[in-house]
């Protein structure tokens, strides 16, 4: 018997909570689909479900302490059927937003240099809007709370990516 004592970490940390939930959901998803997993549509469907599961488990790990988690949970609950349409439309929207953002960036670099002495609210106008699009639930927040939420959201996203990467690496040698 190997007595492997790995270094102990916080069992109730965000990472452990997310990992536990996510793995449970993943096993559920995989248990539900024993057939025809090779077709691309099936894979795509499963990808959607896994992504939703990842987001949901992340939001659940944070509970309702953060605005973005509440917004994400609400989104996931109220739009279960329109997932596909929502996904494609969001992809299109994000692409358009990216293009417009690149266009705006050129303008912004000129405008921000002149308005740096002014109010911060004015300078962050465009970028704050983009950030609001990215962070769930960011539409109704002022700049300060938006930055706060963004910081926490980035932290949670990084843990999510790490855990999922570990899982994916484990299962695809």
């Amino acid at each position: 018997m190997n007595k492997y004592n790995p270094p102990r970490m916080n069992p109730s940390s965000l990472r452990s909570r997310f990992a536990t939930r996510f793995l449970r959901t993943l096993s559920k998803i995989n248990a539900q689909k024993p057939t025809s997993s090779s077709s691309p549509t099936e894979i795509f469907r499963r990808y959607r479900r896994i992504k939703a599961a990842a987001d949901k488990s992340m939001a659940y790990s944070v509970r309702s302490r953060r605005t973005w988690s509440r917004a994400m949970l609400w989104k996931l609950r109220t739009r279960p059927c329109g997932r596909r349409s929502v996904k494609t439309s969001t992809i299109i929207k994000s692409r358009e937003a990216r293009k417009t953002r690149h266009e705006k960036q050129n303008k912004n670099t000129t405008t921000t240099t002149t308005t740096t002495t002014g109010e911060d609210g004015v300078v962050f106008g465009v970028e704050a809007d983009e950030l609001r699009e990215l962070v769930p639930g960011g539409e109704a927040m002022d700049l300060y709370n938006l930055l706060d939420e963004t910081a926490h959201y980035i932290k949670c996203l990084t843990t999510q990516v790490q855990v999922m990467k570990k899982i994916a690496d484990f299962y695809s040698p």
């Binding site: 970490m9 449970r24 090779s38 992504k51 990215l134 962070v135 299962y171």
Partner: protein, 357 residues
């Protein structure tokens, strides 16, 4: 008792010289006396202390500028309980000297009585406490201490005070500027305005808000790798936006990978956990999840061999899908592969602490 006697002495001394010439030099003498008095009773008798403290500045002021001694004394009701700052008495004398030199104080002394309850009044008293703690050596920062007993009485939002401390301590450049500002503050000045800045409540509130936002931006800069070198808030925000988008894309790709890679494999959570625990440094997974999945594991143990074969077969078919994905989004994949989890976990822990603070 000694302190009370000391105060009486000061009063007698000061009133004796009241009739005499009131010049800056005499104020120096007074400050020396005050210095001595303040240094002597360094006890915890706060009431006498503050009485001591309160007396010198108004007395000094009064002697310097206007013979309205009763007015000033009455005007500064000793709210002794509020005064809890650390006492830097030697510097007080220096402060009084400087204030004696700058005659702005006299005007303020009269105006401040009217201004006391104005909404624009900002309490600077918290500043010296924090200043003293952070920059004890600087006499400039400890100057406002003298204003403590009188200014403490006004209660203003602490955040504004702190913000003004930081803003003013960072941006006060010349001693003259500092002195002119302090002279205005002492003892009834409320607003710590930087030189050349407006002192409306609006602009001050906005400045406080801006400083809060800048603090948040710094925190975000630390979170997002590669943002420390960028100067300029708009560019930093762009970087943050890029980072958030890349993270979201990474989540999508990883979920796609998981969907493609694991069509048939049952998730042997215990094996996943034991491998993860070493890398993730989370060892309590097995204890949490093992009891739930033991029956599954035993049932699936013999199936693992089949699963490996299936694993290979199923990998080939979705490869074309993955290739398409990979061609378009190579950089996120590379970032995935080169993602240094151990280093990031360490930084994440540090950030955890910061966030939870």
């Amino acid at each position: 008792m000694e302190s009370n006697a000391g105060t009486k002495e000061t009063r007698s001394n000061l009133t004796a010289s009241d009739g005499g010439e009131v010049t800056a030099f005499e104020s120096l003498q007074f400050t020396d006396e005050i210095h001595r008095l303040i240094l002597a009773p360094t006890t915890d008798n706060s009431s006498s202390f503050t009485a001591l403290l309160e007396l010198p500045p108004p007395q000094a002021v009064e002697l310097l500028h206007s013979p309205d001694s009763p007015k000033l004394i009455a005007a500064s009701p000793p709210n002794v309980e509020d005064f809890q700052g650390s006492f830097r008495f030697p510097s007080n004398s220096g402060l009084i000297e400087r204030d004696a030199r700058f005659s702005l104080f006299s005007g303020e002394a009269n105006n401040s009585n009217e201004k006391r309850n104005s909404p624009e009044s900002k309490n600077v008293s918290a500043n010296p406490e924090k200043n003293v703690k952070s920059e004890p050596a600087e006499t400039e920062s400890s100057q406002p201490l003298v204003s403590d007993p009188t200014v403490e009485k006004r209660s203003i939002k602490r955040k504004d005070r702190e913000n003004k401390v930081k803003g003013s301590t960072k941006k006060s450049k010349t001693v003259a500027n500092e002195n002119s500002e302090d002279a205005e503050k002492l003892p009834y000045v409320h607003v710590r305005a930087r030189r050349g800045q407006a002192t409306d409540s609006h602009s001050l509130a906005e400045r406080a808000r801006r400083e809060k936002i800048n603090a948040r931006m710094k925190l975000l800069q630390e979170l997002v790798p590669g943002c420390n070198k960028i100067s300029g808030t708009a560019l930093v925000l762009d970087e943050i936006i890029n980072h958030v988008q890349s993270l979201q894309r990474q989540v999508e790709f990883l979920s796609m990978r998981l969907a493609a890679v694991n069509p048939r494999i049952d998730f042997n959570l215990d094996s996943v956990f034991t491998s993860e625990s070493g890398s993730l440094m989370d060892s309590n997974f097995p204890s949490l999840v093992m009891p739930a999945i033991w029956p599954e594991v035993q049932g699936n143990g013999h199936r693992q061999q089949y699963q490996h074969q299936w694993h290979l077969d199923t990998l080939q078919q979705p490869v074309w899908g993955r290739e398409e994905v990979c061609n378009n989004y190579i950089t996120p994949e590379n970032s995935l592969l080169t993602y240094d989890s151990s280093a990031n976990s360490a930084t994440l822990q540090a950030n955890h602490l910061k966030m939870e603070l």
